[in-house]
Amino acid sequence: MSYHQATYDERLLNEFRSGSTFKIPGDGSAAEKLLPSGMARKELPLPSLAEYDAVRHFTRLSQMNYSVDLGIYPLGSCTMKYNPKYADKIVSMEQFAEMHPLQPDYSVQGSLRIMYELQEYLKKISDMDAVTLQPLAGAHGEFTGILIVRKYLEDTGQLDMRREIIVPDSAHGTNPASAAMGGFNVVEVPSDSTGMVDIDALRSALSEKTAALMITNPSTLGLFERNVVQIAKLVHDAGALLYYDGANFNAILGITSPGIMGFDIVHFNLHKTFATPHGGGGPGAGPVAVKKRLEKYLPIPRIGFDGKRYFEDFSSDKSVGRVSPYYGAFGVLLRAWAYITYHGSDGLEANSRKAVLNTNYVSRRLSEYLSDPYGGVKKHEVVLSSSNTGERALDIAKYLIDNGVHAPTIYFPLIVKEALMIEPTETVNRDDLDAFCDAVIGSLKAGHEDLHQRPVNLSVGRIDEIKAARDQILTWSAIKK
């Protein structure tokens, strides 16, 4: 094994002394007298370094950071697929990058058209009736969906009664957190032994108090919820709404859709399914789509088109209002538009099929070594458990990164012990899938001791997380000299 990550003993920015080289034109000397008395800042303790030092600093740091452009990044639930470079070019075109969000409609017809077309794309992909692009990430989309649930209940006089939102125990943490943020009580339902929502438990959880059920399909176990039609009927018969967490859309493009399954509200994660770069943690975008009867509650403005011009549509007086101040993360929306336009109907569906094929390949190879708690065909990801091996998922993860491949998501979903949640995506070749599987298998042969001392090939060794939480050093000023 010859992998080695670049390693620097990189100083902190405030340990550089070269002095700033930055210049701007203009003369600000008149400003001092203009400041109201007592308002002038005396000390400004920022580091002062030359641009060449700053660039070298961040370039060295970048070399201590694994990324999709370096190889497989099978982080389950995150859809870390290749991010096309044409989208980088398009977002940096000045006719998009240098637009002010409060420019008048007549000057922004291009940007509005992009957003209108994206709304239309998302409707056709999801078989829903109306879309808002305003939410800024998946969790923000969930929260927007919850606000729509609230507004619908308020409008129909049911808000006082329907106070509960049901989520399965396999749900992503943002689902219960978003429901609680919207003021609802969260009721958890268990999964059955095949990983499906336990129908009997759902039946007894549903009542006249239920506001909505939030589910992810395929679930966070990478399994398609076979009973989804029955679930939709149960929920609707109980007078509640059905929410679809679209984080896992990459499994079903062109194959099925939340609209057909009977969902009322859906959010998309454009940074997952539509390949906008994850940026080291963000930005993302989390558009929300709804069925006709909920359209009037969507945030305003949405983007309309009257056959000639595109416009901001503020017409609904039942709207939940705004969840962000402008149109949403336009740069992310533009990238997603470019991705969908490039791949088209044929490419999107082919991508989903390949992603599912890749997952099943990995699943087949690795289930000989790790336990597969639910069996069956997988969708976009597979969740395996290392509890049969005596090794912890954490240690396996450290072995993998030490060998230059990113680890799966670990310890999620919470209902699988020692979970390894693997989502290869469609943008990995067969050799790299094999290399990943070989590394997982290698970790199981390495032995306890070897695993525990890893990583040794990276810029740092195993990190002490407990010390971080205890010391609470969150800025350089908190470092004891």
């Binding site: 800042r41 400004l44 990324s67 075109m93 008048p104 149109y327 990583p455 997380e465």
Partner: protein, 435 residues
């Protein structure tokens, strides 16, 4: 397929009932990269104004961005990575975000800063929720002139809580906080007071420094312009408990309003009540300095419905951009940028006020970037007439604070360090010519 033992990939979808199968997506088929780029260019050509003399600001500004910012954040090691769940593999992003937290804490004079919230408005929404978590009180005092869009976002953010928003007024002459009115509205139920500096009139407000004397037990939430902090006293020095900002000005392109950056800082005693991801310094098994996400027991993946926020994906790349920006600009640079901004605002005030019918001095306070101007006609008409001359602006006040009818015939012209004297003259001449 052979290996998995299937003949067709259809078999992998046998678990999806045929009644809910979709027959393809009814959109056009894929095209080549070359065609996508041409199409984007063609659609983009319907956008105009980006190369005009620009006077639009009010929250989103056209500032000088050193080329190195785009070059660093465009490095694929950063832009194509994700949340640093595997810390040992991701020290680059972790250290950068730790530096971001440090830079923003230094700039705002606050103890701690999280590693980002979506944007300034949602950061304000999170701040209101955090204040309520801290003291469980229910009244939030807000400036009467807070932009409607921000108010709408905090309303959304607090819809699950039973909060009451009470507005306080401003002095008619200066545009400053009316301290007497504010004091009269503070009560035992006040959870927090929101103060802006510069405020929504664009005015640098010395009265924010006096709020700490009258606030009693209420928390102080400040919404500040980060560039102004190059020369204006920071919120940490006048008693802010939570300070938030829109960080777009720190090296991020306007991009039609997104992605943006929410700066979120607070006093250290409130750490456990705070939202968002936080990076901490620690060491590795050999004692070497290392960074890791920490204090995660507040977050959704652990606390689920009891989390302090639902935020997961944040604005890490934008936070990186602002860290690169601040490291290149440095303390002298940010000072000069702020000073030039104030000087150009003054020049614009003088120039515009010299045009008949326009008054940019009816508020006596010092403007930072945004200059509020009374106009002889409908600001939207003036905007259109100026647009035809190659000028972007004004932003009508009615679109920002529609509740204040006295400002129906006013609007903002904004400046930055990019605004040249020549463009200020061009604006004044054009205003004269369109009468």
């Amino acid at each position: 397929m052979d290996f998995i033992g299937i003949k067709s990939d259809e078999e992998l979808f046998s678990d999806i009932p045929s009644s809910i199968r979709k027959k393809g997506i009814p959109i056009s088929r894929g095209i080549s990269e070359y065609e996508v780029m041409r199409l984007a260019e063609e659609i983009g050509s319907a956008n105009t104004g980006y190369n005009y003399a620009n006077f639009m600001g009010c929250g989103i500004y056209d500032r000088i961005i050193p080329s190195a910012v785009d070059s660093v954040i465009g490095r694929s090691e950063f832009i194509t990575s994700y949340t640093p769940y595997q810390a040992e593999f991701s020290q680059g992003m972790l250290q950068s975000l730790f530096e971001y937290q440090s830079l923003i804490s230094d700039l705002t004079g606050m103890d701690m800063t999280n590693s980002s919230i979506y944007d300034g408005a949602t950061a304000l929404g999170e701040a209101v929720r955090m204040a309520h978590r801290i003291n469980e009180k229910t009244e939030i005092l807000v400036p009467e002139n807070l932009y409607r869009s921000k108010m709408d976002v905090i309303h959304s953010y607090s819809s699950g809580l039973n909060l009451k928003f009470i507005s306080y007024s401003f002095e008619k002459k200066t545009g400053y906080i009316d301290l007497e009115d504010l004091a009269s509205k503070i009560s035992a139920n006040t959870s927090a007071i929101i103060c802006e500096n510069p405020n929504s009139f664009g005015v640098i407000d010395p009265n924010v420094m006096k709020v700490q004397e009258i606030k009693g037990e209420a928390l102080l939430i400040t919404y500040v312009d980060p560039v102004s902090l190059g020369v204006v006293v920071p919120p940490g020095s006048y008693g802010a408990d939570i300070s938030v900002s829109e960080g777009q000005q720190l090296g991020i392109h306007r991009e039609f309003g997104g992605p943006l950056l929410g700066l979120f800082s607070f006093r250290k005693e409130y750490l456990r009540k705070s939202p968002g991801r936080i990076i901490g310094l620690t060491s590795d098994s050999k004692g070497k300095r290392a960074f890791v996400m920490t204090i995660q027991t507040r977050e959704q993946h652990i606390r689920r419905e009891k989390a302090t926020s639902n935020i997961c994906t944040n604005q890490a790349l934008m936070a990186l951009a602002s860290a690169v920006y601040l490291s290149i600009v440095g303390p002298e640079g940010i000072r000069k940028i702020a000073n030039v901004t104030i000087s150009q605002a003054k020049k614009l005030k003088d120039a515009v006020s010299s045009v008949r019918g326009y008054d940019a001095k009816f508020l006596s306070g010092t403007s930072f970037s945004d200059v509020l101007v009374r106009m002889p006609g409908d600001p939207a008409d003036i905007q259109r007439a100026l647009f035809e001359k190659g000028i972007l602006g004004p932003i009508p006040s009615s679109s920002l604070f529609p509740n204040l009818e006295a400002f129906a015939k006013s609007g903002f012209f904004s400046v930055t360090e990019k605004t040249s004297d020549g463009n200020i003259r061009f604006l004044a001449d054009s205003l004269g010519a369109i009468q």
